[in-house]
Amino acid sequence: MKIAVLMKQVPVSNNVSVDPDTHALIRSSSEGMINPADLNAIEAGIILREKYEGEVVAFTMGPQDAEKSLRDALAIGCDEACLITDRALAGGDTIATAKTLAKAIEIYGEFDLIMSGALSTDGATGQVGAMVAEYLQLPHVSEINGVDFADESFQITKKFQNNIVELSCEGPASVSVCFGVNSPRLATLRTKRAAKNKEITVYTNRELQLAEQEVGIAGSPTLVVDSFAPEYQKKAKMLLGTPEEIAEQMKELISIERGKN
């Protein structure tokens, strides 16, 4: 079973503020890590490989230093890794990113299952996995809780409105995995060392051969035109007083609401 896992390097800290004059983002640290939900996708991929043999290939698109996250993925247990990096690809929105990832997967080889984390901690769009599936013309199930393989098909579980939905799909298929559905294994000192020396496939646009107007900012239908500090439109009315006074107010609010139909 050949599995591709799409992952994203996200900032370790979401502690980002906005310069009030230039509106530029000010980051407290530039350190990156694998997006948490992507670790769940990697774990789900490795479990499938352990049961049914095959390999797990981690893909990421980003600056050169995203290589660090790919090394982490190899240390955790991915078999191969592919870094997609090129200045021309920078600044892309989800459409441009998905188009690029789809092309990279296509030229890398055939896969039975494409996996990704459901949402990233930074942009949290949850779109790229489904868009890649569309570009590759694959069936896709978003935000799943589990996947196994039986009767020649992927058996997928997904939670939806307090129901457990069971789906079945022949490969090749694509899924995005919810955060927290399994416990990602950790790298050991030994696997970390081994990962250091593994070869990583690097694709620039020379390999991908995508037209300039299809990638990066030019290939993005949307543009980020501004960033600003959120003005919290606080909806909540703050209850004031001593804990005792507040407790009394809470009791009253709750008893009024209970009395309504």
Binding site: I95, T125, E134, V141, V165, V224, A229, T242
Partner: protein, 327 residues
């Protein structure tokens, strides 16, 4: 010439999702500037009820597709039909609920139409560009809730498609007086096949049912462990409330996974919700819907939970609960 504001009438089992009423508020605010008509797009194995519900929300037009079979979860089919509907309507904007279903289907629609999809907008602002044309500033939180970004769609890539975070905009009131709706059925669209099969749908385990159906829910976040959990537990018994939790509480093993509220857990719609030490990250707040009374207790006055809650208490929840319980 593109014209019209589309709203996606998300539904499940032929019932309209309440969030569609919230999209209608946003559509009305765009219409107030641009004067465009509002067109609901709906697809279902049986659109009749849905069409009636949509009329009551006051949409100008409805474009409906009867899919014959239930196509829930089959994004390939749904995205194909919706892309065809949008091609037919040629709207300037499409509003979609930022839900699992909305994200999942419209990611594919955006790829098909090569238009963008702005995720999880909390603010929609109509402005005019230098050519005198209206466009939408799509404001959304990024990096957790620490930064707001404004996103716009390039004019050559219209429609402007955006998902709207549920619970931010108030819903319009449904009224039977709204009768001026034009209803069109689109019959010429081909309904493709999907390799994806729904094998079964079962209710989540019984243990979650107590929390899912509960009228009163107490939610614990980081810090609600150890003796604090003891306190939370007594508070919940006093209110006859079910206990839910965010991830830290699940990780600590204090409450079972089934009682996790949010994106990976369950969705609750209690009448009364009291959250204790919950910061309010979207992963969690997506799981709390339609509350009538929501009181949040969190020492951090800038916590995003206060954008959702009706009342806030910026104190350590321990002191508040002790006072409440008369300790």
């Amino acid at each position: 010439m593109a014209n019209g504001i589309c709203i996606f009438a998300e539904n499940y089992k032929n019932t309209l999702e309440p969030v569609v009423g919230e999209l209608m508020s946003v559509a009305n605010s765009i219409k107030a500037s641009t004067g465009e008509k509002i067109i609901a797009i709906v697809l279902s194995s049986n659109c009749d009820n849905l069409v009636e519900s949509l009329k009551a929300l006051g949409v100008d037009e409805i474009l409906a597709v009867n899919t014959v079979e239930d196509t829930s979860f089959k994004d390939e089919i749904n995205s194909h039909i919706i892309a065809e509907m949008i091609r037919k309507i040629e709207p300037t904007s499409v509003l979609i609920p930022a839900t699992m279903t909305g994200r999942s289907i419209f990611s594919r629609v955006a790829a098909k139409l090569n238009c963008g999809l702005t995720a999880d907008c909390t603010e929609v602002v109509v402005d005019k560009n230098e050519n005198g044309n209206y466009y939408i500033k799509q404001n959304k939180p990024s990096f957790g809730e620490n930064v707001m970004v404004t996103i716009i769609t390039k004019e050559e890539c219209y429609p402007q498609m955006l998902t709207i975070r549920p619970g931010v905009y108030p819903s319009v009131e449904a009224s039977e007086q709204n009768v001026a709706t034009v209803v069109n059925y689109m019959t010429e669209v081909e309904i493709p096949k999907s390799k994806l099969q729904v094998v079964g749908i079962t209710k989540a385990q019984a243990s979650t049912e107590s929390i899912v159906g509960a009228e009163v829910v107490v939610v614990g976040g980081r810090g609600a462990t150890g003796e604090n959990f003891e306190l939370l537990n007594r508070f919940a018994s006093k209110l006859e409330a079910a206990i839910g939790g965010t991830r830290p509480l699940i990780d600590e093993g204090v409450i079972p996974f089934e009682n996790q509220i949010g994106q990976t857990g369950c969705t609750v719609r209690p009448k009364i919700c009291v959250s204790l030490g919950v910061s309010g990250a979207i992963q969690h707040t997506e799981g709390i819907k339609d509350t009538k009374l929501f009181i949040a207790v969190n020492t951090d006055e800038s916590a995003p939970i206060y954008n959702l809650a009706d009342y806030g208490v910026a104190l350590d929840f321990k002191s508040v609960l002790e006072a409440y319980l008369g300790d």
